[in-house]
Amino acid sequence: MKHDIEITLNGQVQRLTVESHQTLLDMLRDDLKLFGARESCGLSVCGACTVLVDGEPVSSCTHLAARADGKELTTVEGLGSASAPHPVQQAFLECGAFQCSYCTPGMLLTASCLLREIPHPTLDEIKEYMVGNLCRCGAYPEILQAIQLAAGSRE
């Protein structure tokens, strides 16, 4: 079954037709060719597919596209650009907070929500908030450093 939906994606209103079974991740990658959100676990436990739905981090690999109707979506492509990076992106660059970077878009989006909710988080608050985003390369120390740097730079 098909559904006509209207979303605001990275600030732009879009009308789309999606299948009932289609995930938000498949919609973004297959239909909209936005490749920043990535599939890894397929079970919403690793965070590689994280996008923001109405400002909240969501695992797009298990979130049905049809449920996004009327919502505001932000993907890493809407967070910032190489010439105008989001403070979190700038901090990740400066701290070298990635190795393979497969997890990076999810990390960035979750971290951006964290800093909106808790502008000056403690280390433990960062770890608690970010626990759903996994990095197999083990770039965690640099990621923690980058989030702290971004928190400082927002003052």
Binding site: E39, S40, T75, A82, F92, G96, Q99, C103, L134, P141
Partner: protein, 812 residues
């Protein structure tokens, strides 16, 4: 001393802006016009004879363009069997299935949903056969055999035992045996003051690279095969596809983008054969991408059982060690024999033991294939020998660090393999980590030590304490104890091996480096750029690294085994020097100086005697070609050699051109009521030779340390009668932010390698070798010697070990 301006700096990742914007091209981002999606049907039984596969219903489903099964492959003009050690794995199972998850049939359809539906329409009839699920059962007399014949692949020069080997009937499930004999082990054990015999094991684990395997294949009408793949071994894949289809290597093009992690999982042939076959059968480009569940069924890190018998003297000298090591390589050998072989060399540990006997077996079982994982088996053998080192130290009343230092290998020592060791910064590494966790700062409050003889090796330096400790772990009424542990390890890097690089200087003086090294996250593009810029004398931003494309990037063995900085770094250095020589020949005419007098830095060339008169690289290129035109090409080829090995004793004057090493020290806290563990501090030191990029070195070491905590503390693939029961990231946990040690300290040791580029060594693996035993040794220190011999070190096992150790009838 060379004056370095780019090598040795913390240059930022060249691809950083693409990675922090999510724009970097991973394999699964790629699509081709008319591309189909392939999916695999997998065996549900662990061992069985394929009676019949009926694909007719699947073929009739609209949207399906190709359906293949093993039987179809036999009718084609191809060699369907591949494997880096033995040609034992067909692109799709032929005749038999050997594990739950063994690919039986493949479908290419217009989308994944249609392909999945088609898989449901394939009827498979399999007659189940008796199966073996562990090495013991597989090696028992009369055990069902997985293979009918053993066909050595003869591909890799380092697997000398298999070169020129014959196709022979299989007589057991042992695919491969590595043997080492040095001295008189039995005689030395008989005269040793004490003999220790212990068995340690670790289960199969996952690589867990977040990007799953993905390959696209396309056949041109001209007969040329184009393959894009998330692989760590493009050169190998090209050769093997050429062999498989009986076509020249020049007609196979393999291209590799950035990888979302590898850690050994993306080595050798994985999806390339089946994807290529589906593309051929359908006449369309085909993509195959695995799900996470399939990832668990594709490749694993070997589960291992190791029994060590070690003879020591009262003066602290180890005089003999016998190692029997069983590697569960699963249903197909993959690179299991190389893992068995490479870790075989150093199975007795990094110690000067005069009498050594090593028998390592790579054994087939009806489980997912085990292959390369970061370290090629060193993690598994290190778990055994570094656990036993602390058992011995405790029993003998010796300080674990001093005991190791007394026996450690140094430059100039002859290794158990007969090869003289050089460029090994092991002692510095061990001392550095011991210092980092303040090994000697806390006097042990109580220690079970023989009181009659004074220790020749100092008193224990751990942190056992009965004083109350304030800790977040503390529950009401529980007791928190602390302990410290160390472990160290070394590895012989794969030898012989070949790496080649090409370097183009363009008309404006900018530079392309053509290399088949795969940047899978370790940052090789950046380090190779630094080496090229430094050697050639240009700025970092003048360099662009061309990713593996076998049509243009020359041969490289594999991106694995910590070999890229050393081998490809050298190849790039040689290519840059070659190009510079050509530029200097032209510049010398203009500057009216001898070429030997010239020097270059930051894109300018001048004579040392006249530093005021400079030429840019672009000006030299213009002079050379009399126009804004032309390319100057430098070539670099770096090879390492081994000396012949006696197959009965494993003795060789040169088994490796490069020893890598590392050490780890950990301080832990344990709640003795729950067994819960907290790592307070973990320090890992790696001898990097010379840090090309110190930040990148520390990041590799810290990343390896944290990755290593997973298999140390909780990672384990669990099977029930051959069926994987935790094949997802929901059931199989990998380390998260909340699993981080309180403190992680990566340490760079620089003991230059005499042949390394600027003295650099390989480091990617060395940080992970000793994580598990260092933690286990800290646990034993905290719990009065209680040990967990089988990884992972779960709270349940820690608690059980503590209780057994405290029970009055316990002997150790």
């Amino acid at each position: 001393m060379m004056d370095l301006s780019i090598v040795g700096t913390n240059a930022r990742r060249v691809e950083g802006p693409d990675k922090v914007t999510g724009r970097v091209d991973f394999m699964d981002n790629m699509e081709l016009p008319g591309m189909l999606h392939g999916m695999l049907l997998r065996s549900r039984v662990p061992h069985g004879r394929i009676v019949n596969i009926d694909t007719s219903r699947a073929r009739r489903l609209p949207g399906v363009h190709a359906v293949l099964c093993g039987q179809d492959l036999l009718g084609m003009n191809i060699d369907p069997f591949t494997g880096p050690a033995f040609k034992d794995q067909a692109a799709l199972a032929i005749g038999k299935v050997r594990y739950v998850g063994d690919p039986i049939a493949a479908v290419a359809a217009v989308d994944r949903e249609t392909a999945e539906e088609a898989l449901e329409l394939i009827d498979v009839e399999i007659e189940e056969l008796p199966a073996v699920f562990d090495v013991q059962a597989a090696m028992a007399p009369g055990a069902p055999l997985l293979m009918e014949r053993m066909v050595p692949a003869g591909t890799f020069a380092d697997l000398i035992e298999l070169l020129g080997g014959d196709d022979v009937p299989a007589t057991s499930n042992a695919a491969f045996q590595y043997k080492l004999r040095r001295g008189d082990v039995d005689g030395a054990l008989a005269r040793a003051d004490r003999v220790f015999k212990d068995t340690y094991s670790n289960p199969a684990t996952q690589h867990g690279d977040l990007e799953t395997h993905c390959t696209i294949a396309k056949w041109e009408n001209s007969g040329k095969l184009q393959v894009w793949s998330a692989t760590q071994s493009p050169s190998y894949v090209r050769i093997m596809l050429a062999n498989m289809f009986h076509i020249p290597e020049s007609r196979v093009r393999v291209m590799v983008p950035y990888l979302g992690g590898g850690f050994g999982s993306k080595l050798y042939m994985k999806l390339e054969p089946v994807t290529t076959l589906l593309a051929q059968a359908s006449g369309r480009p085909v993509k195959v991408r695995l799900t996470r569940k399939e990832e668990f069924l594709t490749i694993t890190k070997h589960g291992v059982t190791a029994t060590l018998t070690t003879g020591v003297m009262n003066d602290g000298q180890i005089i003999a060690r016998d190692c029997e090591i069983m590697w569960d390589t699963g249903a197909y050998a993959d690179i299991g024999p190389r893992v068995t072989h490479k870790s075989g060399y150093t199975s007795a540990g990094p110690y000067t033991i005069p009498n050594v006997r090593i028998d390592s077996y790579s054994v087939y079982t009806n489980k997912p294939p085990a292959g390369a994982f970061r370290g090629f088996g060193i993690m598994q053998v290190c778990w055994a020998y570094e656990s036993q080192m602390d058992v011995i130290a405790r029993e003998m009343g010796w300080d674990p660090v001093e005991f190791r230092l007394k026996n450690l290998y140094h430059d100039g020592d002859t290794h158990a393999t007969g090869t003289v060791i050089y460029s090994l910064g092991l002692e510095q590494s061990l001392r550095a980590v011991a210092d980092a966790i303040k090994w000697k700062s806390d006097a042990p409050a109580e220690r079970n030590r023989p009181s009659d003889v004074p220790s020749p090796l100092g008193q224990g330096g751990g942190a056992s304490s009965t004083a109350p400790i304030e800790s977040p772990l503390r529950k009401t009424g529980s007791k928190i104890v602390r302990g410290k542990g160390v472990a160290c390890s070394m590895k012989a890097m794969i030898t012989p091996s070949v790496a080649a690089a090409t370097l183009h200087v363009h008309s404006d003086g900018s530079v392309s480096v053509l290399s088949s090294a795969v940047d899978m996250g370790q940052g090789s593009d950046t380090q190779l750029s630094q080496i090229a810029a430094e050697t050639l004398g240009v700025r970092l931003e003048d360099i662009s690294v061309v990713h593996p494309d076998t049509d243009v990037t020359p041969y490289d063995l594999i991106t694995a085994g910590s070999r890229t900085t050393f081998h490809m770094g050298n190849a790039v250095r040689l290519a840059a020097a070659d190009a510079q020589q050509q530029l200097f020949a032209t510049a010398a005419e203009v500057l009216d100086a001898a070429p030997e007098e010239l020097t270059a830095q930051a894109g300018k060339i001048w004579a040392r005697s006249a530093p005021d008169r400079t030429l840019t690289f672009g000006q030299v290129m213009f002079k050379r070609f009399d126009a804004r035109a032309g390319t100057l090409t430098g070539h670099g080829l770096f090879e390492t050699y081994h000396a012949p090995t006696d197959l009965q004793t494993g003795q060789s004057e040169m088994v490796t051109a490069h020893w890598l090493c590392g050490a780890t020290a950990a301080e832990v806290e344990i709640d003795t009521e729950t067994g819960q563990l907290r790592i307070l501090d973990i320090a890992t030191a790696v001898d990097v030779g010379k840090a090309i990029n110190p930040f990148a070195c520390r990041q590799q070491i810290a990343g390896a340390t944290l990755q290593g905590t997973g298999p140390a503390l909780f990672e384990e693939m669990l099977h029930d009668a051959g069926q994987l029961i935790n094949g997802s990231f929901a059931d199989y946990k990998i380390p998260s932010f909340l699993d981080l040690p309180d403190q992680t300290t990566p340490i760079i040791v620089e003991h230059p390698h005499k042949e390394g580029p600027y003295g650099a060594k390989g480091i990617g693996e060395a940080g992970i070798f000793a994580i598990a035993p260092a933690i286990a040794n800290a646990i034993a220190d905290a719990l009065g010697g209680a040990r967990v011999p089988d990884l992972p070190l779960t709270p349940e096992k820690i608690l059980r070990a503590a209780r057994e150790a405290n029970a009055p009838e316990s002997s150790r």
